[in-house]
């Protein structure tokens, strides 16, 4: 089988679609705070994000990618039996996650691409176990448990870190000045740095959602080796930057004009905390939601008394999206797999 096989082309297109979605919405959310506080213009944000998202994906994205690809479902043991199954299963997973994300985005629900792809990959694992290809206990439940608990921990960690950072800024800088507006001006340049940092962090963690399943299938089909080739990461990075440039700028515009409360000191605290938490998770190979971590960080700044008004009802919506996304993505993925096998792909 070569790279120009229809199945492979399908996989690449599906992966790019996923990457486009991530760039258009999740990356835009992460970057929108810099525009909201006036640190960067939309054009500048797209250039900064394009560069650093790409760098994060290409140089720091492999760990999470291999978790998505092989950490949850024992892809290698399945491909020993039938490598075609893996390719079809992973295609089903990307399609299912992409479908759920598209639906959720149309209804403006705060669903995470990370949760969707993890659920979808799990769905493939479950149908493989159901068909007796692997045992149910062969699924790496302990990894899944780690991933799911990191989803709970990461927003909390973001909140704590943002709380601490903003409290320090408040205690050492804001409370000692006569003119807080001057301080805000100084933080504008610092916030340009955190904008780069958050783009890098996002690229390093979220690229996996697009290219994890793609890599798993290409590896199973023996088209790529054991180490993830750079071109796959480049593909994911390009897809995300493309999403940002073709649609994300509109999301940023919408967010940026409405988040005027997030002044540079607040924006800096929230972004620095979010980026640090995300990079930490990329380092320990755990896929998390950047957007949900950002929500935690914003709440942290609010708890430290930095924001005029924070609406906590978002927490409920996010919690609900967690509970719904994983089972729905898993089920859709399993059904897609049966469907794809049924039509003889």
């Amino acid at each position: 089988m070569d790279l120009f096989n229809p199945l492979v082309i399908f996989l690449i297109i599906a992966g790019l679609y996923m990457a486009w979605n991530i760039g258009a919405n999740d990356l835009a959310n992460a970057m929108g705070t810099s525009v909201g506080s006036g640190a960067l213009s939309i054009k500048q944000v797209i250039i900064v994000a394009g560069f650093f998202e790409f760098a994060g994906a290409v140089f720091f994205g492999k760990k999470v990618t291999s978790t998505i690809a092989k950490g949850i479902v024992p892809i290698d043991s399945i491909s020993l039996i039938d490598n075609h199954l893996v390719a079809v299963g992973m295609l089903a997973a990307i399609l299912a996650a992409g479908f759920w994300i598209t639906l959720a985005t149309f209804y403006n629900l705060p669903v995470s691409t990370t949760h969707s792809i993890v659920g979808a990959v799990l769905g493939f694992g479950l149908i493989a176990a159901y068909n007796g290809i692997i045992g149910l206990s062969d699924i790496h439940w302990e990894v899944l448990l780690k991933i799911v608990s990191s989803w709970l921990i990461s927003p909390v960690l973001g909140a704590i870190l943002a709380y601490v950072i903003f409290s320090l800024i408040r205690y050492f800088i804001l409370q000692k000045t006569d003119d807080p507006y001057k301080i805000e001006n100084k933080f504008v340049s610092l916030q340009i740095a955190t904008a780069c940092y958050i783009a890098f962090a996002h690229g390093s963690n979220d690229v996996a959602n697009a290219v994890g399943p793609l890599y798993a299938s290409l590896n199973a089909l023996d088209l790529v080796g054991l180490s993830i080739p750079v071109w796959i990461m480049v593909l994911g990075g390009l897809g995300m930057v493309f999403g940002l440039a073709t649609w994300g700028y509109r999301v940023i515009e919408t967010i940026g004009t409405k988040i005027t409360e997030l002044t540079p000191t607040r924006g800096f605290s929230a972004e620095f905390a979010t980026a640090s938490v995300v990079v930490l998770h990329s380092y320990i190979s755990l896929p998390i939601s950047t957007t949900h971590t950002l929500v935690g960080s914003v709440i942290g700044v609010g708890l430290a008394g930095g924001l005029a008004a924070v609406d906590l009802s978002v927490i409920g919506k996010i919690a609900l999206s967690w509970i719904v996304t994983v089972p729905v993505a898993a089920l859709t993925s399993a059904l897609m797999f049966i469907g794809l096998m049924g039509v003889g792909i």
Binding site: T105, Y181, T291, G302, S313
Partner: protein, 229 residues
């Protein structure tokens, strides 16, 4: 809102009640400024102008009510503020009474022509001027909220704001003194004014004086809101 292809965390940012709070305080100030014009017109016997200003005050008071309702409507239980929401609402209430009381006083002006001694006339002008000064000082106080939020309640800014609260309280005390003096003068002039005249003017004195009371009350609640954070 039109459905867009967007997933965002935008809804975490609720609209700040503090900007509308300042706007609301300014509406109260606008009412009292108009009332001051009306009192001057009243003292000069220009009832046409008094009626005109009364209509304008009605409009501004209504605008203040709308802002108040918006603030209350947006403060659902899931909103987290840097101050207690109940304290904020407790402070909004007396602030809203500033425009209410100005409207009431303005209405009383329209009911009867002014016909009294130059002494009482001067008394009214002074009472009004002091009341207006108190309310305008109060507006300045509310204005400091934005700086307080900006510096996240720095010690220095809190002290500045608390100093303004004390000043408003002191100014209100001076209004009280003038109010009592003027009331006495009005009752002493019963022979000239007649019973209805005394009743009308005494109600006016009370109404104007209560505006400063409300500003002081609101300033006091604002202090509670800042200190109990």
């Amino acid at each position: 809102m039109k459905k867009e292809y967007i997933r965002s965390v935008l809804s975490i940012f609720a609209s700040s009640p503090f900007k509308p709070l300042c706007m609301h305080a300014n509406k109260g100030g606008d009412c009292v400024r108009k009332l001051s014009e009306a009192v001057h017109a009243f003292c000069e016997g220009d009832m046409e102008k008094v009626n005109l200003l009364n209509a304008e005050i009605d409009v501004i008071e209504h605008e203040a009510d709308v802002i108040k309702q918006t603030i209350r409507g947006e403060l659902s239980s899931s909103i987290m503020l840097p101050v207690h929401a109940t304290d904020l609402l407790n402070f909004l209430k007396p602030q809203d009474s500033i425009s209410d009381d100005a409207q009431e006083a303005s209405y009383w002006l329209t009911l009867r022509r002014f016909d009294a001694s130059p002494e009482i006339r001067a008394g009214f002008r002074e009472l009004m001027a002091r009341t207006l000064a108190t309310v305008e000082h109060y507006e300045k106080l509310v204005d400091t909220l934005s700086e307080l939020l900006e510096s996240s309640f720095s010690k220095r800014d809190v002290e500045d704001t608390l100093a303004l609260v004390m000043e408003v309280e002191e100014m209100e005390h001076q209004v009280d003194v003038i109010e009592k003096e003027l009331m006495r003068t009005v009752f002493r002039s019963e022979d000239v004014l007649g019973g209805v005249g005394v009743f009308h003017l005494s109600r006016l004195v009370m109404n104007i004086g209560s505006i400063a009371d409300k500003a002081e009350h609101a300033a006091d609640r604002l202090r509670t809101m800042i200190l109990r954070r």
